[in-house]
């Protein structure tokens, strides 16, 4: 089955955040009311009860004075997903159409995935000691519906469909944008990390939107998947029992991430 995904077009998005509310509604996630910190974005990051947010970045622009760049942020459903490799309990799986699914039944709350994910997407929901993240609305998609966020988006900034077709559409749109005032317009998600099952049309380079230009996973991930998990997986609960040990291992891993990039490549 072909990969199915959302194409997000920053040139059409008005940052209304209806997608954020639709996501909460469909997934029955409680509100996480945090004090206003001086940015319309309000949520600095996704959290255990918030699978998606809209990044809002103000960027100086000599011609227009300022740009206000919007980018809907959530799990990227990486085709070669680090979370799948990092999870010692096999809680993460890929659907045949490209969604990365997390099974809370298998999740033991170890949080390794939160460090392994190049986008920092999986979040720990303390009250249940489980990880949560965007599901690409797999329950809706398997029932023949589009994701809740894509269904609600009024200006058509989110479109759900066949990944290959959406890439073609995105190429046309980017050509148009480049010729009409956005010389740096680009597509994000085709090649990053070997391909994301989320596509972005950006009117400027990804860093202007708060997205990593060259997202990276790390050598240790494959080591972890190929060696530690098969042979020492039984150690994990023990390690977690000693939370200090867990803390140190995860930190060490996080540090290592800075040193050994193996994949990347923004187009």
């Amino acid at each position: 089955m072909a990969n199915m995904t959302n194409l997000y077009d920053s040139s059409k998005c008005t940052a209304c955040r209806a997608c954020q509310v639709a996501c909460k509604n469909w997934n029955q996630l409680p509100a996480s009311i945090k004090p206003f910190k001086g940015n319309y974005q309000t949520h600095e990051d996704t959290d255990g009860d918030t699978f998606t947010i809209v990044l809002m970045n103000e960027v100086d622009n000599a011609a227009s004075g300022v740009d206000w760049n919007f980018a809907k942020f959530q799990c990227m459903h990486c085709l070669d997903a680090a979370c799948v490799k990092a999870c010692p309990k096999g809680a993460y799986t890929k659907t045949e159409w490209g969604a990365t699914i997390h099974d809370p039944e298998k999740c033991i709350g170890c949080q390794y995935c939160t460090y392994a994910c190049p986008f920092g997407v999986p979040k720990h929901r303390k009250r249940e000691d489980k990880i949560t993240k965007c599901t690409l609305c797999a329950d809706r998609v398997t029932a023949g519906l589009a994701p809740a966020c894509a269904t609600t988006c009024a200006p058509g900034a989110l479109k759900f469909g066949d990944r290959d077709q959406l890439i073609e559409e995105a190429r046309d749109r980017v050509n148009y944008l480049q010729a009409n005032g956005f010389p740096n317009a680009t597509i994000y998600g085709i090649n990053e990390l070997g391909g994301l099952n989320k596509l972005y049309i950006l009117t400027d380079s990804p860093d202007k939107f708060g997205l990593p230009v060259n997202p990276k996973t790390y050598g240790t991930i494959n080591f972890w998947q190929n060696w530690v998990q098969p042979y020492f997986g039984w150690l994990i609960p023990v390690a977690l029992g000693a939370s200090a040990v867990s803390f140190i291992t995860t930190r060490l891993m996080a540090d290592k991430h800075q040193e050994h990039p193996v994949e990347g490549g923004h187009e």
């Binding site: 008005t14 004090p35 206003f36 740009d67 206000w68 009024a154």
Partner: protein, 842 residues
């Protein structure tokens, strides 16, 4: 809107001014997005606003403009159009009053039009009129050369609005301003159209009406009215604001925008009412309805469609008083209340009167003046002077709990602001829980005048009730109290028709209301099929003539057209004639006669989007098949069907106007503050006037002279607005956790430069003060606000949300505690959008 939301997809250029359309009208905005993607239109979007918003973020051009300087901005545009001959010449000559000559005593000096009375702060508008020849015809010069023609007077008036002067007033960067002028004025080409979309950023000023009038001048010059993709589009902030206005929300009207009478000679009886409200009737020889009918049948010169006012008022009275309304008793005209001629009954005036203790009781329906009213400290105090108050709302909002302890907490001790406690307040407060839109059925007239029926989706929660139920019960109870009265002064109540109960008397039948509103024939009880069939002899009933035609009779039952849901769109222009119903008479784009050339047939050169046309081969009336010639088209023609090329009115597309033309010059009583828009500074302004000698709109009423903030003490301009995450006063949305989390606290936006000057950190607490009060809020320091260079000096502007209050999940101080009690000269719409303040760290 002259046009409608879907029509936005047909435009070449959209000018969004005084509106944050993407945030506050996201669904309307989607149609502009469609136009952008359409290779035929390639819609460009211009956003003009004091701050960079989410609308600016998706616009092609964003141009900053200091709050309260719209007329300067648009005056410069008018001059640019005239100087560069960018106007749509054939359109201007034929469809506007550009060629009409104006009286010789009309004049303009130092910012004042002729006829000004400084003591009364008002104008005698006698000189603001056309010149008539001996035969009583308006004199014209189609070459537009006569120095007394509207075109030349306009040219002279706007000659002062050169680009440098304009930019020194508005603070717009000259380069950006020129970009806007160039792009928008390109729609003067006959094959292009541009639309102007505005909201409260235009109307909430002491010059609000003239701001809109400036749009009219620009759009008429560019030939953008009455055409697909054109128009002046008021984006309504509440879905049914249009409907509320249609039903006489404004005090000066009865339903359908006809005059509400005052207690004066002009309106003393029905005949006087007709004489006053029918254009051209003032001096005609009639003393009773029969004589008037004979004169009207022969035709009244320079009267326009309003020549039918007698039919509208009589059908309205017949609806209200039924059998008690007869020709012999003036159709019970004496039953309807008459206003005091010297009084104003707008929001500000009512609260001023309430504050003085002149009002005993108040019903507040789905409204929240403690948050939304101007000078909210004063308005909250005014509520304490009432004997009783009824709040009808979904939630116990701030107004329903104005008496509580929290309601009187203030960020700063200020002896000029009242601080009360519940024990000081004697107002008896009732709360009636109301059903939400999805819990009741009925229509809402949206911004494009489409009256759409909504079916009930769920039962109301708890004891909450639909507004119709509440008012039906109230009226029945009041009538019961008076049922034995024989006193003539009680007749307005005892004789009032009231029969809206459904089968079980428990629930009213909303279709019975619709039936009366849309009109029926007294003899048959069957719908009147359109307002042309209304009569002034008591044989028809119609509660609102603009809604006439929304009902019809088919297969032995009434069809209520707002319930239609057919998706056919044969023109491809998005008119959807069988989806709901639109007033007037399902006409989707008003003044649509302008969509064809004066010959009535040919589209404008290069344009393919004719809406209507003259068809000489078809009969206008199926009953008279041999009388050929009719107006036809994709849309319902905004023209009398039989007005063919042989009639002088054939080139008069603005049928509601006495002279039939679009008014570049607004004659006589059209406006209280002048026939041409002139820039005046807001009541509170950081600069002295530049373009004339008037400090502010000379014709607006100043309610509280002592409350005027001066720039020495309050140097910073403030404005108020909404965000997409909250709805109006937030009573609905701040009670919904998923929306509360998106905008959890009250904040004030300010530039990085001002924050640096004042030592304010992003996210920290600040105090904002005006002469009316103080509030505390969180700072949102942003690149999206920039200081303005105005009159050679740097001026700062801040902005704040007016959607917060002390109830709900998302709370914060009420911005309207800062806003002034002053309004537009014509409408008294409060000047929420430009006032002076100071800001400091908390």
């Amino acid at each position: 809107m002259t046009n409608h939301m879907i029509d936005l997809k047909n435009t070449n250029v959209a000018l969004i001014m005084g509106s944050n359309m993407a945030e506050n009208h996201p669904i309307g905005m989607k149609w502009l997005t469609k136009g952008r993607l359409d290779p035929k239109r390639q819609t460009k979007i211009i956003h003009v606003d004091p701050r960079f918003t989410r609308t600016s973020a998706v616009a092609d051009i964003y141009c900053p403009m200091r709050s309260g300087t719209d007329i300067a901005f648009l005056g410069g545009m008018i001059k640019y159009i005239l100087d560069n001959e960018l106007y749509h010449k054939d359109y201007v000559v034929n469809y506007t009053n550009a060629a009409f000559l104006i009286r010789d005593d009309f004049d303009f000096q130092d910012g004042l039009f002729s006829g000004y009375d400084a003591a009364k702060r008002s104008y005698d508008n006698t000189s603001w009129d056309y010149k008539y020849d001996e035969a009583g015809n308006i004199m014209q010069d189609p070459t537009l050369q006569d120095p007394r023609c509207v075109f030349q007077l306009m040219k002279k008036h706007y000659s002062r609005y050169d680009i440098d002067t304009v930019c020194s007033i508005t603070g717009s960067p000259k380069k950006k301003y020129l970009e806007v002028l160039k792009l928008y004025c390109s729609t003067g080409a006959p094959d292009k159209t541009g639309c102007i979309n505005y909201a409260m950023g235009i109307t909430q000023h002491t010059v609000g009406s003239q701001n809109v009038k400036s749009f009219a001048v620009v759009q008429l010059l560019l030939g953008n009215i009455g055409r697909a993709g054109g128009g002046i589009n008021a984006l309504r902030g509440e879905n049914n604001v249009q409907g509320a206005t249609d039903m006489a929300l404004l005090f000066q009207y009865l339903p359908g925008y006809i005059d509400s009478p005052t207690a004066s000679d002009k309106y003393k009886d029905l005949i006087s009412y007709i004489r006053t409200t029918t254009p051209g009737a003032a001096k005609l020889p009639f003393t009773n309805l029969a004589e008037f009918r004979a004169i009207a049948a022969a035709g009244i010169k320079y009267s326009g469609w309003r020549a039918n006012t007698s039919k509208w008022i009589v059908s309205l009275l017949k609806g209200w008083y039924g059998d008690a309304a007869t020709e012999a008793n003036d159709f019970a005209y004496h039953y309807i209340p008459k206003r005091n001629d010297t009084k104003n009954y707008s929001h500000i005036a009512l609260f001023e009167a309430m504050h003085k203790g002149e009002i005993d009781g108040l019903f507040i329906n789905g409204s929240n003046p403690v948050v939304g009213g101007p000078s909210a400290n004063k308005e909250q105090t005014a509520l304490t002077k009432l004997k009783w108050m009824v709040s009808i709302d979904l939630w116990l909002n701030e107004s329903a709990e104005f008496w509580s302890h929290t309601a009187w907490e203030r960020a700063v001790d200020n002896e000029k602001v009242s601080r009360l406690t519940p024990k000081d307040i004697n107002t008896e407060v009732f709360f009636l829980p109301a059903a939400a839109v999805y819990e009741k059925e009925g229509t809402a007239a949206q911004t494009g005048r489409w009256v759409q029926f909504r079916w009930k989706g769920a039962d109301p929660v708890g004891e909450s009730k639909a507004d119709l139920w509440i008012y039906n019960e109230l009226a029945k109870k009041i009538k019961a109290l008076y049922k034995d009265s024989k006193r003539p002064e009680d007749e307005p109540i005892t004789k009032l028709t009231w029969g809206y109960d459904g089968h079980d008397e428990e629930e009213p039948d909303i279709l019975k209301v619709a039936n009366e509103l849309c009109g029926f024939n007294v003899a048959t009880g069957r719908p009147v099929e359109g307002f042309a069939q209304l009569k002034d002899d008591g044989s028809t009933v119609c509660g609102n003539w603009v809604y006439c035609g929304a009902t019809t009779w088919k297969d032995d039952k009434m069809i209520y057209k707002p319930q239609l849901r057919k998706k056919d769109d044969p023109s491809g222009l998005g008119l959807f004639p069988n989806w709901s119903w639109c007033w007037p008479v399902n006409r989707r784009i008003v003044y649509n006669r302008c969509s064809v050339q004066p010959d009535g047939v040919t589209p404008w050169p290069g344009d393919s989007d004719r809406l209507v046309w003259w068809d000489p081969t078809k009969p206008a009336d199926a009953a008279k098949p041999d009388v050929l010639g009719t107006w036809a088209g994709w849309d319902v023609p905004d023209f009398i069907k039989t007005t063919g090329p042989d009639k002088p009115a054939f080139k008069d597309p603005f049928i509601m106007r006495p002279e039939g033309k679009g008014c570049l010059f607004g004659t006589r009583a059209s406006f209280k503050d002048g026939p041409f828009p002139e820039h005046y500074e807001p009541w509170e302004s950081p600069i002295a006037p530049i373009i004339n000698k008037q400090a502010m709109n000379p014709a607006t009423k100043v309610w509280e002279p002592d409350k005027q903030g001066k720039a020495e003490e309050y140097p910073i301009i403030a404005t108020t607005y909404r965000v997409t995450e909250h709805w109006q006063t937030g009573a609905l949305t701040r009670n919904l956790p998923w929306l509360a989390e998106l905008m959890p606290n009250m904040f004030v936006e300010l530039s990085e430069e001002l924050a640096r000057d004042k030592g304010i950190k992003n996210g920290s607490k600040v105090i904002v003060s005006t002469t009316r009060g103080d509030i505390e809020a969180l700072a949102c320091v942003t690149k999206r606000f920039k200081p303005f260079k105005v009159a050679g000096k740097e001026v700062h502007q801040i902005g704040m949300l007016w959607q917060f209050g002390f109830k709900g999940y998302a709370t914060g101080d009420i911005a309207n505690r800062l806003t002034p009690h002053i309004g537009d000269a014509n409408t008294m719409c409060p000047e929420y959008k430009a006032f002076l303040c100071d800001i400091r760290r908390a």
